[in-house]
Amino acid sequence: MDKLLDVENVSISFIQYTRGLNQRDLKVITDLTLDISEGEILAVLGSSGSGKSLFAHAIFGILPENARLDGKIKFKGKELSQEDKEEIRGKNIVLVPQSVNFLDPLMKISDIAIGHCETEDEKKAMKIKQREIFEHYNLGPEVDDMYPFQLSGGMARRVLVSTALLADPDLVVADEPTPGLDEKTVQETLNHFKHMKEDGIGVLLITHDIHAALEVADRIGIFYSGYVIEIALKEDFSGDGENLLHPYTKSLYKALPANGFEVVKGYQPLHGEIIKGCPFYDRCDMRFDRCKKEKPELIDVGNNKKVRCFKYEEGA
């Protein structure tokens, strides 16, 4: 069966002027591969500023003009062109944006949620639906007439999530839905995603919050320095982390306060740093010669898991 969303070797780069008129390609995402099935929550876990949001924008075809996108993004088995993205965005795939800044500051909340309608009848129908969904998310009728600047953090979050459901989507892409929220609101937000999953909607959760990811996701894709280095099951993040494959994922797990609080030295290579071998080479304690010279590919290790490390190659 075709996956709901299948992302293969996506890279995003920006044309950057260095000195004078010299251009260079600044690669922000080098190789991103992942897939999501219906009714599944996949978290993409990466540090802040690593380009995760750009990936979300790439799915919707709303990257900035000077960005270049390579690789394949398939939706229900069909590779999406820019026109396809424009056709299905807002219908089959919807975005839950990061913050209240994504709401038009001069529009009333209900008008933003309803969006553009061709006819009055359509608008009326949407209004009823919007009211139902808002009610479901505990947003009273007074919220309809508010403006974005009047919303509290939690309300804004609920509004953003409910805008997603107005369209009956197959896939929800949630971009950093949890930062800056209190414990209770985070829990509430994550529950919304669980409910979506129960309704058979695929959810791509882009986050840097490992707790949030572990809380709701079925699988977790680890994003490191522009690469997806591992796609692990939620259950693997348990015990000593012995089921985790990639050394970075292991160290990430061990760095959690509950699991030893060990921090691995070094830093992630920055965008534009050109690395010949494995991006984790400098910090890896399992490295061998080949890792320095060659880039490992993402290999399928079965059970819906993938890892980008030579250690797990056949015969290694």
Partner: protein
């Protein structure tokens, strides 16, 4: 919003207005007092008089009164609406100003509206189609106009439309030899076209440029990205999210341009010999007509203040954030 808050708001504006007017009145008076203008010479227009008569005139104009007393007298007269008698026109200054201002008002109002509407429309079209040929045309036009002096634009318009094409009369408010009260509407209107055109051509450049940049910025904002991700596109997107968000700064700019409008009118009226407030200001300055000149300064200060006040009030109707907050402070 309740009435008390509105009253308080306008009360404060009124206080500010009064303070501003006193400051403008005092400063402009002191500056003119320091200038080498001699009101008696200006009054005499070089006519020969005896020394005694001259002394009587000095007495009459009060040139020997100490400066603080002069300022006090000037403010008191101003308070009663007495701006003195114009030395050129030999009529009360207030009458002259009202007369000339009315003639300019049509010119300024029409070009203000035209430059606002056309400038905004050009800015939106250019901003939406950033990088296209139409954007480039608008940009080149705006840069050219903004770096050209307005009187030069006026002269070009005059050369093309009056001299070469001969479509419109070359200047003045009414035909030569006809009193302004006898002129027909058509005679008056045809003479208004070119000055208005020139003033609009100049005035639309800043607003178009500003609107274009604002729209480009809004179109790359997070909320437009989100709207796009929800399937909105094309003109609907610009209409629903773009226009609304750029209208407020554009309107502010347009009201703030009252001062430039006034300055532009001075130039353009001079080029077209149009008998408005601008030309009167130039005449008053050149012929040392102190009362008329001070009167025009005061009136133009009021004019600019009203422009800014209208901008403030317009916020209230467009921006919900101000609607909630402004009247509370």
């Amino acid at each position: 919003m309740n009435k008390q808050k509105v009253a308080k708001y306008f009360g404060w504006k009124l206080v500010r207005f009064i303070v501003l007017m006193i400051a403008v009145a005092i400063f402009s008076f002191v500056l003119l007092d320091l200038s080498p203008i001699d009101p008696v010479n200006a009054y005499l227009h070089g006519a020969a008089v005896s020394e005694t008569q001259r002394q009587i005139l000095y007495q009459y104009f009060g040139t020997n009164v100490p400066l603080p007393d002069k300022i006090f007298n000037w403010l008191m007269d101003l308070l009663q609406g007495n701006l003195g008698i114009s030395l050129i026109y030999r009529r009360p200054v207030i009458e002259v100003i009202i007369d000339k201002f009315m003639a300019s008002l049509a010119l300024m109002a029409i070009s203000w509206i035209l430059s606002g509407v056309i400038g905004f429309a050009l800015g939106v079209v250019a901003g939406k189609n950033k990088g296209s040929w139409i954007d480039k045309v608008v940009k080149v036009y705006c840069y050219a106009i903004q770096s050209a002096p307005s009187f030069w634009v006026g002269m070009l318009v005059l050369m093309v439309f009056s001299v070469y094409l001969g479509w419109f009369p070359i200047g003045f408010g009414v035909p030569i030899g006809v009193s302004s009260t006898d002129a027909t509407f058509i005679e008056w209107a045809t003479r208004l076209v070119l000055p208005t055109l020139a003033l609009s051509l100049v005035g639309l450049a800043p607003i178009a440029m500003y609107t274009r940049n604002e729209l480009i910025q809004v179109l790359s904002s997070d909320y437009v990205l989100f709207a796009k991700s929800r399937g909105e596109k094309g003109w609907d997107l610009v209409k629903n999210h773009g226009i609304r968000n750029i209208l407020l700064p554009a309107i502010t700019l347009q009201f703030l341009s009252f001062s430039e409008l006034f300055g532009g009118a001075v130039m353009i009226e001079q080029v077209f010999s149009y008998p408005g407030i601008g030309q009167t200001a130039v005449a008053a300055g050149l012929q040392n007509d102190v009362p008329l000149f001070l009167g025009i300064v005061v009136i133009s200060a009021i004019f600019v203040f009203v422009g800014n006040l209208l901008a403030d009030i317009s916020y209230y109707f467009i921006d919900p954030r101000i609607k909630e907050n402004e009247f509370n402070d």
